[in-house]
């Protein structure tokens, strides 16, 4: 066998593109921080000047006051309940919405665009805005928190799941169509089990996010740990705040580990 030289095609040059992209990022960053252009002011001096103010708070944060713990159980439980209930409700709505928002599972373009638009709007509104409005509408407590979380979760889960459906191979849908099935039949019997792992994984992810987000929602009166955080912060009890933050950290990590384990099993 003679070793003939292979006629390998020239590799396309990609570095000019890389340089151009990097250059564009640098230029945009510089422009946005130029005060002359009304850019974001990044004043490193301010950090140094105000360091003294923060330092004693940080010192307090380093010495958590555990005596607050008994008072945290009730709000913590409420936060967890809110997170779980909201994840479950949003999951129920997200199943049909995800299928309607993806092209292979909903070929009806106007319908699909309508579903997507509504979800884009839901996602565009910040969660604190929902919470504030809902607290004003239905009063202080867990209910406005749960509704806020449901909207927040729907935005995330439907977007991620429908994008997963859009990018997945959908040849089985053609087979369902060739067999004379309606889109609803095809979605129910084949698209649903096909999408299930992605779906369950995103719902677990939304559960994780809910615990974090609901801690914040309490700041505007939407129940859970946030209300306690708001209270102790109001009294400058940073040592008690430290305990609450640590507690939340433990809970969030525990949920993350659990959901990671569950997610691995889904594959």
């Amino acid at each position: 066998m003679t070793a003939t030289r292979l006629d390998v095609p020239a590799r396309p040059r990609t570095w000019p593109r890389t340089v151009a992209i990097a250059g564009a990022i640098i230029v945009i960053t510089l422009l946005t921080t130029l005060p002359a252009l009304g850019g974001v002011e990044i004043d490193l001096g301010a950090i140094a000047r105000n360091w003294g103010n923060g330092a004693d708070r940080i010192a307090k944060l380093m010495r958590p006051d555990l005596s607050i713990l008994p008072r945290t159980w009730q709000p913590l439980l409420e936060t967890l309940e809110m997170a779980l209930v909201a994840a479950a409700i949003s999951a129920a709505f997200a199943i049909p919405l995800s299928l309607w928002a993806a092209r292979p599972t909903n070929p009806n373009a106007p319908f699909r665009v309508a579903v997507r638009s509504v979800l884009n709007i839901i996602r565009a509104v910040p969660d604190l805005v929902y919470a504030t409005i809902l607290v004003a509408m239905v009063g202080v407590g867990a209910l406005p928190g749960v509704i806020t979380l449901v909207l927040f979760d729907l935005g995330i889960v439907v977007k991620l799941v429908s994008e997963a459906i859009d990018s997945a191979d959908a040849a089985y849908i053609e087979a369902g169509r060739a067999a004379g099935g309606t889109q609803t039949q095809i979605n129910r019997v084949t698209a649903l089990p096909q999408t299930w792992p992605v779906f369950a994984s995103q719902v677990l992810y939304s559960l994780e996010l809910n615990v974090r987000v609901s801690a914040i929602l309490g700041l505007v009166g939407a129940g859970g740990m946030g209300r306690l955080i708001d209270e102790v912060r109001g009294f400058y009890r940073y040592d008690a705040l430290a305990t609450i933050i640590l507690e939340l950290l433990v809970v969030v990590i525990a949920i993350e580990i659990t959901s990671n384990v569950l997610r691995k099993r889904l594959r």
């Binding site: 040849a171 089985y172 053609e174 087979a175 369902g176 169509r177 060739a178 067999a179 004379g180 099935g181 309606t182 609803t184 039949q185 095809i186 129910r188 019997v189 084949t190 698209a191 089990p193 096909q194 299930w196 792992p197």
Partner: protein
Amino acid sequence: MSAHALGAEAGGAPSASASWPVELKDVTVRYPNGVVALKGVSVRIEPGEIVAVVGLSGSGKSTLIRTINGLVPVTEGTVTVGDHVVSELRGRALRELRGHVGMIFQAFNLADRASVFHNVLVGRFAHTPTWRTLIGAASPRDREVVMRALDSVGMLEKVWGRAGALSGGQKQRVAIARALSQEPSVMLADEPVASLDPPTAHSVMRDLERINQERGLTVLVNLHLMDLARQYTTRMIGLRQGELVYDGPAADATDADFEAIYGRPIQPRDRLDR
């Protein structure tokens, strides 16, 4: 091989409905991007025939087969299946017609994460009201038809397994069971063995041959391998650049006929068994 005995014959189960003729009259298909995939094709296939459609890649084989169940709409001409004119059908009527026409694909087109049972249940869609599918309760009869279809291709023991866990040949058998559970009058197969190794390809072709012989189903199968066409089908249609260039008994087709269809000399890759 009792597991391979056709379920329809064994045990008074529902047998296939009467087989139907297929007729194309001056069919032209132009895709939205301007490609003309079929040019004035006319052909009539009698009930119970098993016909190979051969031609090079891009000659329009898939397009021809897809006009028969309306997956590809015709630009000009008419396609008649049984006594239905496919291009006149919309919505429910089109779905009903598709229910009478089984189809098998090169890539199997199974939902890998769904069970074998649910994949075959797809074949019952046209016979099932949507609400019943939605609540997830297959009727006893649908269940029976699915099980018999799986049994007839020797895949019954895998009924509760995931479709994605099967080998290529097993997947194609499940896909055949899906088409059979429609209790179709016509069976279409688009390169059903192109993704399979030679022994598996032969056994899948034998399944198709058996369906034709035992159920009397009209079968149209796209093939690009000349020996498979000769061995398993009785009639051969040749396509070249969207035009019908050959129509005759498959067994009599000579290498010269294939060269005329392909427009080039025969190559080793035109045969399965080299």
